[in-house]
């Protein structure tokens, strides 16, 4: 009999047990963790204030696992089986104890004294699984809540942002800027890459003389910066579609009055970074020296913020032709022909009647585009392939 010749391994239980957690690894995370210079991974949950402000419909409390570039939602799945973690035995077992097992196992094959033993050092009742929700992750809603809104009204220059007694050309240093940004991102429960994308998307910037703060410009403010830089570029003969020095653009914005800039330089740089063609965009940690705008992306972006600035809600809907006129007026002469409704991002506007339209915020767009039917169908197919009881039962109950 093969069982008689085969080796048997004594199986023991070690007391006291240790505590471990088991984490299921998707292929890309496995690759990351087994790579040579594996980065430190973060388990992030939103601060209680942010969790209150940004509600997640799927879960009240959650932890996200964040690699430098990816975000996963952690789900704890209970197991009805016991999952033991074994390790070769430390040999702390008495002969007498072994005899007990040996005598009980009366088979001739089993009578051989086990030459080696393994021991269970922990028992896990659950496994941590990772998944990415349908909509993916975005830092934008969190950043919108944690960044201060920059929206000084004209003629209100010395309101929030006192910029009188400092050299306006120098904002906070590069390190200060980076530290301030990282501090904000620390509380945002997504990966650094997602944070940076959101930061870029919002044209967020760091500014302040005494107290350094992180700001996000309002749509109105973004539009006025855009208009200003477009005019400046026109006056100074800067071709925005070709590489230009951001410093030159800043000078063109300043007019003659260098002492009173219309807005912080960091804001202009944030905008330039946002509009810069993607392949030319420097990393957020680097200064933006050169930029080169992408006409199509620029046109779309200007259209979107135009609408956001003029008709942010259904009650302030504007006429279509009126909006198109405003949009065109915000573009360089040669781009005017591009200002057509089909160029706007999908779902970015709604029309209460055929002649008017208003802006739909990006966070609301997702919910609309996520048709409930499609969601349910996807969940069903997922449930069929899964062995997870939570998912299997979720749909059948309804």
């Amino acid at each position: 009999m093969s069982t008689q010749t085969s080796r048997s391994v004594l199986f023991t239980h070690t007391q006291p047990q240790q505590s471990f957690r088991l984490l299921e690894l998707p292929p890309d995370l496995e690759e990351l963790l087994t790579s040579k210079d594996a980065p430190v991974i973060k388990l992030k949950s939103p601060s209680s204030a942010l969790a209150q402000a940004v509600k997640d419909p799927a879960a009240q409390e959650y932890v996200n696992l964040c690699t430098p570039t990816k975000t996963y939602r952690i789900r704890q799945v209970m197991s009805s089986n016991s999952i033991h973690i074994l390790q070769p035995s430390l040999g702390q077992i008495s002969r007498d104890d072994i005899k007990v097992v040996e005598e009980e196992a009366g088979e001739t094959g089993a009578l051989n004294l086990p030459d080696d033993s393994v021991t269970t050092i922990a028992n896990c009742g659950s496994i941590l699984e990772l998944h990415i929700p349908d909509g993916g992750f975005s830092a934008v809603p969190f950043l919108e809540k944690s960044l201060r809104l920059y929206d000084p009204r004209s003629g209100d220059d010395d309101g929030d942002m006192a910029m009188d007694d400092s050299n306006p050309d120098e904002g906070p240093s590069a390190t200060q800027t980076q530290e301030a940004r990282e501090k904000v991102c620390e509380d945002v429960p997504v990966s650094t890459a997602h944070c940076e994308t959101g930061w870029l998307e919002l044209c967020a910037f760091v500014y302040g003389d005494q107290e350094v703060s992180c700001w996000r410009p309002s749509a109105r403010m973004r539009l006025s910066v855009w208009k200003r830089l477009m005019e400046g570029a026109l006056l100074q003969g800067i071709d925005l579609q070709k590489q230009f020095l951001v410093g030159d653009l800043w000078k063109s914005v300043l007019d003659d009055d260098v002492s009173a800039p219309p807005f912080p330089r960091a804001l202009l740089e944030a905008l330039a970074r946002r509009l810069c063609a993607e392949d030319q965009r420097p990393a957020l940690s680097e200064d933006i020296k050169w930029a080169c705008f992408d006409k199509e992306e620029c046109t779309r972006w200007v259209g979107e913020i135009c609408l956001a600035a003029t008709a942010p809600t259904a009650s302030s809907a504007v006429g279509r032709s009126e909006f198109l006129q405003v949009w065109k007026d915000c573009l360089p002469e040669s781009w005017r022909a591009d200002a057509i409704l089909s160029k706007l991002p999908e779902g970015s506007y709604q029309s209460p009647n055929p002649t008017t339209m208003f802006f739909v915020d990006a966070s609301q767009r997702k919910q609309i585009s996520k048709a409930p039917a499609a969601g349910a169908a996807a969940a069903k197919t997922k449930a069929k392939t899964t062995r997870n009881w939570h998912e299997l039962l979720k749909n059948s109950k309804r």
Binding site: L33, T34, L90, D116
Partner: protein, 159 residues
């Protein structure tokens, strides 16, 4: 604030674990396939191992990261015997042996299981011992196979 660091397994830490003579014996009795650098393996059981209750001080979980208490109070209770009846160390590439694993518990009970490749590898995490104030985790091992007993114990006749 609400961020916990999870450190990947570093080669260095794996070395210190294995070089620590008291924490691991030199040899791993499990088939090659189930062996991992740290020696950890996973065994899943559709059952609970019931042990006599211990005194309360022993009943507590060991402080994380310290497999041995300083006074060496860990002790092992034999539970049963694991057998890989078709496994031959001479022929490690043949995977047919994975279909059959026995766990004998006592004299009359045997569980039949198998060695399965995990659909997704499992990272074994534990709290980092070095961190005292902040909570930090580390990946101790990445396990790709498990010994799985999905059947209930069956009686074995006593011949």
């Amino acid at each position: 604030m609400p961020s916990i660091q999870l450190h990947p397994t570093s080669l260095k830490s794996a070395e210190t674990t294995t070089s620590n003579p008291s924490s691991l014996p030199a040899s791993n009795p499990l088939p090659q396939l189930l062996q991992t650098p740290s020696g950890l393996a996973i065994l899943e059981l559709q059952a609970t191992i019931n042990l006599p209750t211990f005194e309360s001080e022993d009943d507590q979980h060991a402080s994380p990261g310290s497999p041995l208490n300083s006074n060496g109070t860990t002790f092992e209770t034999p539970v049963g015997k694991l057998m890989f009846p078709d496994y031959s160390p001479l022929n490690p590439d043949d995977t047919k042996w994975m279909k059959r694993v026995y766990l004998y518990v006592g004299r009359y009970q045997r569980m039949t299981g198998e060695v399965k490749k995990l659909p997704k590898p499992l990272a074994v995490l534990r709290k980092r011992s070095s961190s005292e104030n902040t909570e930090e985790l580390e990946v101790v091992e990445i396990v790709r196979y498990k010994v799985f007993f999905k059947n209930r114990p069956e009686p074995v006749n006593n011949i």
